[in-house]
Every structure is written in C-alpha cells, then in structure tokens.
C-alpha cells in the first residue's frame, strides 16, 4: 500500500457526467483491451482466417465450371461475393462476444468505474474492425493466389475493402443490439445465422441472379447485400464507382441510424 494519505473527499473535484473527450478516450482504451484479448487468444481469429481460405477454395472449384465455364473466369464474380459474405458474417462475433463479456465479472468493474458508460460497447465495435480487416485482406490474397487479377488496380481494391469493412461495421450494430438484449451468447449466434444465411445466399454472391425463379430474383435484386457485392465488383473489376456504391453507404447509414440508438438505449438499461 502506498502509505500516502488519500485526498479528503471535500477537496476532490467531482463531475456527474463524463465529458465527450473522456468518452472518446475511454472507448479507445476499451478497444485496446479488445486488441489485447485478440493477441492473448489468437484462436479468436480462427473464423476470419479459415473462412476466407476454405470458402474461396471450395466455392470456386464447386461452382466455377458450372457457372462461368472455368475456374479462372469465375474468380471476378466469386471473390467479391465471398468477401462480402465472409466479412459480414464476421460481424456476428461482435454481438456474441459482447454478450459473453457482459456476463463476466470484469464487467462489474467497468460499471463501478467513473468512465463513460458507452465505452465498453464502443470499444468492442471499434476493436472488431481489426477482424474485418483480416478477413478482407485474406480473401483478396487467396483470390490472388488462385489467379484473380482485379482490373481495377490496387487503389480500387483498397477502396472496395474499406467499403466492405464500413458496411460490416454498420451491420455489427444489429448484432450488438441482439447481444445486449439476448439472454445467452449462443442465442445471439442462432438469431444472427438465421438472418444472415438467407440474406447472403439469396443474392448475386455466387450465381447470376437471372438464373433464379422470378420471385427469388426480385428478392435478390432488392437485397442490400447484392448492392454491396455489385459495388465491390464495379470497383475491383472495372475500377468504377457506381450507384450501388451509394446505395450501400446509404443502407449502412440507415442501419446505424436505427440500431445505434436502440443498442445504446438497451445497453444503458441493462448496465
């Protein structure tokens, strides 16, 4: 024990609210904690490491011949599809881990510290962008190894990657919301898969939409995931930014506008 006497209560400067600066600082510290946890338990990155590798190999060789005649000409179609599916799916982990974290003893300490109450939530969302980045880079690298040469060039590939990361971050608010309100981590996983599985497959990710029945075509065309995939294809294969780029960003903004306040409210009530 430092035998320094403590400061008397009457001499302390006490504030009843965390300032904006403190909130930002606290959020970054919590994000730093998230990164430390990834470093301590690198198996957390299993999914974002192996899903891009396995999915790219598997789907390319299964569908390549049937859809595009050969594997090589299927790559420009499938790599953006797998990229979006993998990274968006990764955002589920945000919700699952948030739930697990909130059930742990250490959360009691966070709640008893004079920090911005939003910091643990914001920090978790921030740290998870690292996971998205890993998945994004690995998918492109895998594609490159298999012979994919994007016409768009390096700069556009980077823009496409950032777009996917940004949209996944937006989607992670949805799962953060479920994470906050759910009772168990596995129920978050269950709900999320139920939503994402149809959403990512009923899209233009793996097959040309025009091969689907009419009603499914309508769903696939309306599906925001399809727009994001198209935006990525525009960028990587043609180096252009089209309408789908805008639609994707607007969609992401709408998700954040709805789910960020919902999540924050639910989170504040639970903690």
């Amino acid at each position: 024990m430092s035998s320094l006497p403590i400061t008397p209560v009457s001499e302390l400067q006490l504030k009843n609210h965390a300032s904006l600066r403190q909130s930002v600082r606290n959020s970054f510290t919590m994000a730093y904690r998230g990164l430390l946890k990834i470093r301590r338990t690198p198996e957390q990155l299993f999914d974002v490491t192996f899903q891009p590798i396995i999915f790219t190999l598997m789907f390319t060789y299964i569908f390549g011949g049937a859809i595009s005649g050969n594997v090589h000409s299927y790559l420009p179609l499938i790599i953006p599809g797998i990229l979006v599916q993998t990274v968006i799916t990764t955002s589920i982990v945000t919700g699952v881990q948030l739930r697990e974290d909130m059930d742990k003893g250490v959360f009691d300490r966070f709640k008893s510290l004079p920090i911005a109450r939003i910091a643990p939530l914001a920090g978790a969302l921030l740290a998870d962008t690292v996971r998205y980045t890993v998945a994004t880079v690995l998918t492109f690298v895998m594609g490159y190894i298999m012979g994919y040469r994007p016409h768009g060039g390096f700069g556009d590939v980077v823009i496409a990657g950032v777009l996917v990361i940004a949209c996944s971050w937006a989607v992670s608010w949805i799962f953060a919301f479920f994470g906050v309100i759910a009772r168990t981590a596995s129920s978050v996983q269950g709900i999320a898969m139920l939503i994402l599985f149809p959403l990512t497959f009923v899209s233009n990710a793996y097959v040309p939409v025009k091969t689907m029945p009419d009603w499914l075509q309508w769903v696939a065309k309306f599906n925001p995931i399809s727009h994001l995939i198209s935006a990525v294809r525009d960028l990587t294969n043609a180096g252009t930014i089209g309408g789908d780029f805008g639609i994707s960003l607007i969609g992401a903004a709408i998700i954040v506008a709805i789910f960020a306040p919902l999540t924050v409210r639910a989170y504040m009530r639970r903690t």
Binding site: L4, P5, R33, K104, G105, D108, F110, S112, A119
Partner: protein, 338 residues
C-alpha cells in the same frame, strides 16, 4: 453538463461515508434486501455480517451503483447513488465477491487498462501498475495469464485494481472467503493499512471472528434485514461468554466429572453421554486451572479439552432465536443429545 460539484458540508457528508435508508431489492417475489439502514462513519471499518443469502452482496451492489434499489435511498459522502452515480463512482473502489478482473489478460494488462480508464497517462499507468503489483506480491506473476492464478492471487489483484484511484471508500465483499490462514492475515493487514491512510472500508463476512478482528462497528443481517447493529463489544456482550468443552476418556467417570465442573466453575453444564462430552459456559477463565487440578486429583482422564468462542451461530441464536439455517440439523442433534 459539466458543472463541478464540490460537496457542501450541509449534506452531512463529511462525517458519513455511507448513509442508507430503507434499501429494498426484490428479485421476483424474493425480497433479497428488505429495508436496510446503514450508517458508516468516514475513516472506520464497518462489517456486515450474515449467512449465505442474507442479502450482503445485494446491499453492497446497490451502494456501489451496480444495482438500482427498488425502494429507499443511499448516499455516499453525501452523494445519492442513483442521481449522482457518476460522482459516487469517483469515490468508491469495489472488490466484489467474485473476482472482477479480465481472465484472458495478465495481471499487468488488467491494471494498465483500469488505470488508463481512470484517466492516468501512459507513464503514470505503468508506474501505478508496477507499484501495486509489488505491494500485493504479484510482481513475479505479472505477465502470466490469470487463468493460472490461485484464488488468493486473484483476490489480491482484484483488491489492487480497486485501489488504483485511491478511493476514499472501499467495498470488500467477503474479502477472505476461500483464503488460507496466512493469506487471510495478510489481507487483514492490508485492510488495516487502508484505513490508516484515511480510507473507509465496508466489508462483508460470514465470520464473526473476522468482524471481531477488523471492524469498528458491525451490522448483522439476515433475510435482508439488519437484526443487530453495534460495536463488536456490544454484540459480543449480547451473545455471552465462551464455553469450555471436555471429553472424558472413561464414560463411567462422566457423572463425577460433571459434578466437579459444576462445583468448581459454579455453573450449569451440559452432558452428551455417548460422546463423553461436557460443555460448560466459561465465565471466569481463571477457574479452569482449578478444575483441571480437581479432575487430576479425582483420577479422571481427559482425551480432549477445548474452548469454544461465540460463533456466528450463537449470535444468530441469541438475536433471532433461530440458528443459521444450514446448521439447524446440527442444532437439533445437540438438543437431542441433552
């Protein structure tokens, strides 16, 4: 938003670290805390004593802003735990019943993160972390993941984490449960030193002995209510004295032994014939030597002699008229034996 409050002395907050009135918390139809009043004077150690499920943890969680009371109010140094929770959090350190540290990280990383969250700079945080690890004997294990920490190490780290900001009020929920005697004694020393630096400590315990060693005042709670409150001496006086237990080697001697006990100690005694045991209140410890000599002269051999201090059981028995629930069957057995 950013108005700076300096506490006005009119609130009476200077003297009282904790003032709780009629705290209530219900879980479903279980009234876990059922109208608890507590007053803790600044600079003292206050013990909350009670059996499993009495509502100790729930009470602490309400005082530490972790749970919202269903009714009643509480002030920490004059600041309301609900309306001024952010201020209250600047005044308290909490060591919960179960370690509230990050299992996946090392002790060092835990302390760095908590320090940074508390607003220390990078350098300051490092200095604070190594200082605390040193003080709590964790320096060697600093970089190891907590998974391999013993219960005692975890508790010490948890306490260290609560002391980063040197809070004027520290809550300790069963700080020594599950610790070996040596570690427990160290924890007691630590708690005493905390108070010497000017902190106030509110601790819960299931052991009368611990409250006896540490606390200036004690509240005994059961079924969510304070059933007794006072200084250690006041409580002990209400329980009565220690008792002397003798085990007689030869069961045939037991009646003679009983007569000797009652004659020398001048008290009523209780005999459990099948156990060969005699129990008598020990009002005057001096007389025990006389008793032993008397027994030796009468040729009565003892297999065991012990002195039983008043236990939490007896506090409960005296105050509530019923024992600690878990031991109720034991109690009944003893009664039968009489």
């Amino acid at each position: 938003m950013n108005s700076v409050h300096t506490r006005e002395p009119a609130a009476g907050g200077r003297d009282w670290a904790v003032e709780a009135r009629g705290l209530v918390k219900t879980f479903g139809d279980n009234r876990a805390v059922d109208g608890v009043d507590l007053n803790v004077r600044a600079g003292t150690i206050y013990g909350v004593l009670g059996p499993n499920g009495a509502g100790k943890t729930t009470t602490i969680r309400m005082l530490a802003t972790l749970l919202r009371p269903d009714a009643g109010s509480a002030r920490i140094f004059g600041h309301d735990v609900v309306k001024e929770s952010h201020i209250v959090r600047q005044l308290i350190g909490v060591t919960g019943q179960y370690a509230s540290v990050d299992e996946t990280l090392s002790a060092w990383e835990n302390l760095i993160i908590f320090s940074r969250l508390l607003g220390l700079g990078r350098q300051e945080a490092r200095r604070k972390a190594s200082e605390l690890l040193e003080e709590f004997g964790l320096a060697e294990a600093a970089k190891r993941p907590l998974k391999n920490f013993s219960g005692g190490m975890r508790r010490r780290l948890d306490l260290a984490a609560s002391l980063i900001a040197q809070p004027p009020l520290i809550f300790l929920d069963e700080p020594t449960t599950g610790l070996d005697p040596r570690t427990r004694a160290q924890m007691w020393d630590t708690i005493r030193r905390l108070v010497q630096t000017g902190s106030t400590v509110l601790l819960t315990t299931q052991y009368l002995d611990e409250a006896d060693q540490l606390a200036d005042r004690i509240a005994v709670i059961d079924h969510g209510r304070v059933i007794a409150e006072g200084t250690v001496d006041e409580l002990k006086a209400s329980v009565g004295s220690s008792s002397l237990q003798l085990r007689i080697q030869n069961p045939g001697d037991i009646e003679v032994a009983r007569q000797a006990v009652e004659r020398v100690l001048k008290v009523q005694s209780i005999v459990s014939p099948e156990a060969g045991k005699i129990t008598a209140p020990m009002a005057n410890a001096d007389l025990v030597a006389d008793l032993l000599i008397t027994l030796r002269e009468a040729g009565i051999r003892l297999t065991e002699m012990s002195v039983q201090k008043p236990t939490l059981d007896e506090v409960f028995l005296t105050i509530t008229g019923h024992g600690v629930e878990e031991d109720a069957s034991d109690e009944a057995k003893q009664e039968e034996a009489m």
